[in-house]
């Protein structure tokens, strides 16, 4: 019986031939010049006013990110995942959304939150350790920054589907990392979105690392955008450091979603310039030289050059934008050094909508404990201050 029948077979694998070599879509190249039309793949360059607005927001967001990283090094925050270098993805995603749309960000996307109008202090409350999510999710239409990877993508699909069922125009956009696409939830989100034709946009920020794990240990396909094929949805591989291209693709995807054309998967190829978080040590797993390469592809520098060359960005404007950024940085420093009181009894307030006797009991227990401690420390303070007084002559 031919258990091992050796056949010389020459079937073309679907994966090899029929797809064109992957080349990211771009509108403005590394050097700040308009990209070749064949690189743009039909994308139309946003007008200068739009680009200038994107530029301003990138500059401001970066200043914020740098400031928060510094504050974190000073111990003001428990942790902070910087997105330095990923401004084009972050800002384009937000700029593509309308006020009625929902954003589903991750821990890394604080710049996106800032750009969508969340006050710095509210963004940072969670990283400072005050509460798990510190802003008004409904007012901003931004879900809590997700930590369990890829889980929020399903929430985005669900919300988008609900919008569709209600015949609303609301679109959901979710940000994901390259690593997160390996999770089962990413697959399920892509598939549900495609099957239900949900008005949702997936923006994968391919910063080429999941903490220390490089892309080639994460996946073997050519691009993350390729994955869209397996779901029957459009997928775009975009230069994630070109805010013009990211914005053009993402806003089209949002429009398409709103128009009932279903989901889109967008990959922005970028690079995480900072450590994963403040407690990470990238020297263990990546070459410092790569940073230099990616610095040359910087999304802000590039747009600065372009806008400067077309005469859409003057030094006065640059100064104005820098001033806005510095103001924000100062505010951020100020609010992060201000003490932020937390109320331990709030721990019991939000777990359930329906009150629970057991939680009321536990709250009462903690209230008594706190009162006792307060009394004890007043007593101690009194004792101490009298000691101090009596010791004043020593």
């Amino acid at each position: 019986m031919p258990h091992h029948c050796v056949m010389s077979l020459n079937v073309e694998s679907l994966v090899e031939s029929p797809l064109a070599a992957p080349r990211p879509l771009r509108l403005i190249d590394d050097t700040g010049r308009a990209a070749n039309p064949d690189e743009a793949g039909g994308l139309v360059l946003p007008d200068p006013a739009t680009l200038l607005s994107l530029y301003r927001r990138m500059v401001v967001a970066r200043r914020f990110d740098v400031q928060v990283t510094a504050l974190t090094r000073q111990g003001r925050l428990a942790t902070y995942p910087s997105a330095l270098g990923q401004e084009a993805c972050e800002i384009a995603a937000v700029a593509a959304l309308g006020p009625e749309d929902w954003l589903f960000p991750t821990y890394r996307d604080s710049m996106a939150l800032l750009t969508r109008g969340v006050p710095a202090e509210h963004i940072l409350a969670s990283f400072r350790g005050d509460w798990h999510s510190g802003y008004d999710q409904n007012a901003h239409r931004i879900a809590p920054q997700a930590t369990p990877l890829a889980t929020q993508a399903l929430h985005a699909v669900g919300l988008a589907t609900a919008s569709k069922l209600k015949r609303d125009a609301t679109v959901a956009l979710t940000l994901l990392g390259d690593g997160a696409t390996s999770e089962g939830d990413a697959h399920e989100a892509f598939n549900f979105a495609a099957v239900w034709q949900a008005p949702v946009v997936f923006v994968v920020q391919n910063n080429q690392f999941a903490i220390s794990v490089p892309l080639d240990k994460q996946m073997r396909c050519r691009t993350i955008a390729d994955k869209a094929i397996g779901y029957g949805m459009p997928g775009y591989f975009v230069d994630g450091n070109d805010v013009a291209a990211m914005y053009a693709v993402t806003s089209t995807a949002v429009q398409n979603a709103r128009a009932g054309q279903g989901p889109t998967l967008i990959e922005g190829l970028t690079y995480r310039m900072e450590a994963h978080t403040n407690s990470d040590d990238p020297s263990r797993y990546r070459d410092a030289g790569d940073l230099e390469i990616w610095r040359r592809r910087d999304p802000i520098t590039r747009l600065d050059t372009y806008l400067g060359e077309i005469g859409a960005l003057s030094d006065a404007e640059r100064a104005d934008i820098r001033a806005e950024a510095e103001d924000l940085a100062a505010d951020t420093r100020e609010c992060m050094t201000r003490s932020a009181p937390v109320d331990p009894l709030e721990l019991f307030e939000h777990v359930y909508a329906t009150p629970r006797a057991a939680l009321a009991e536990q709250r009462a227990f903690l209230a008594v404990e706190l009162a006792e401690h307060a009394a004890a420390s007043v007593a101690a303070d009194t004792a101490e201050s009298s000691t101090a007084q009596s010791g004043g002559t020593r």
Binding site: W102, Q137, N138, G158, K164, K166, F192, H350, T354
Partner: protein, 339 residues
Amino acid sequence: MTLHDTAPTPLPLRAPVTLTMAAALNAAIQDAMRDDPTVVLFGEDVGPLGGVFRVTDGLYAEFGESRVSDSPLAESGIVGTAIGMAMYGLRPVVEMQFDAFSYPAFEQIVSHVAKMRNRTRGRIQLPLVIRIPYAGDIGGVEHHSDSSEAYWTATPGLTVVSPSNPADAYSMLREAITSDDPVIFLEPKSRYWAKAELSLPVRTAAMNTAVVLREGTDVTLIAYGPTVKTAVATAELAVAEGLSIEVVDLRSLSPFDDETVGASVRKTSRAAVLHEAAQFGGYGAEVAARLTERNFFHLAAPILRITGFDIPYPSPKLEEYFLPTPDRILAALGTWEWN
């Protein structure tokens, strides 16, 4: 696939009919959907098939694709998208086909369903119901008879209930659907075909309370879901032995109704808790521990746990040896010193 905002029409009391628990659950969902256009239903095979236990029979025909739909086959996807829908004002009712198949959704349930309200300081609540056909005694092959309640009850943020009869099934499911908290709704598979005569919409005791099903003076048997029937049968048998058993149907596993159950235990001074799940780390441990903590000096004997063995749920031919039976329960009660 659109959802119309029709005005809720109040439902009149209908003539009594004999219903199985499966039919009562079906009626509960149907009535909830008629009452509230934001209730939507999805999961595996809940559409044209009506679910593998037919709990959703006819709903697809009545409410259409926009409100009743077969989802892709992925439980994390089902729960995860239900979360997003609830965030947008819908009240999703989703089904996990069998309880072992809720495990792929574990992260979504534990890290999001249970925590979203707390995380967002109450700004986002998730009024969703996760229906789980639950427990064994139906001759099911592996993975079709798990009792998963210990996982859910150990998770703060979840409300966990289990009806033991058709009237409660209807009433509790309706209450679960109107609750602003997410509810894990455990449907004892072996009771799907239990019948009762009901005038719908029937309203029984509040979903978060326990009920004394049968009064007694010597021992309290604490049961829920599938073991309530066993407890009642045991109480009936015990009469011949001169033992008066009080049966408490917990109904709500989380929260636990300390008041009702505590009162019963203080009255009888002896109690045993029954469940199908393995004993070690099972929900019965919580019942025994908290009743003991709160009523220690009223107890004449330790609270017993009469449960499945500490092994995986057995294959069909062996489940009879695993499940607590009235005989085994009476024998266990006999191990106490009765003086």
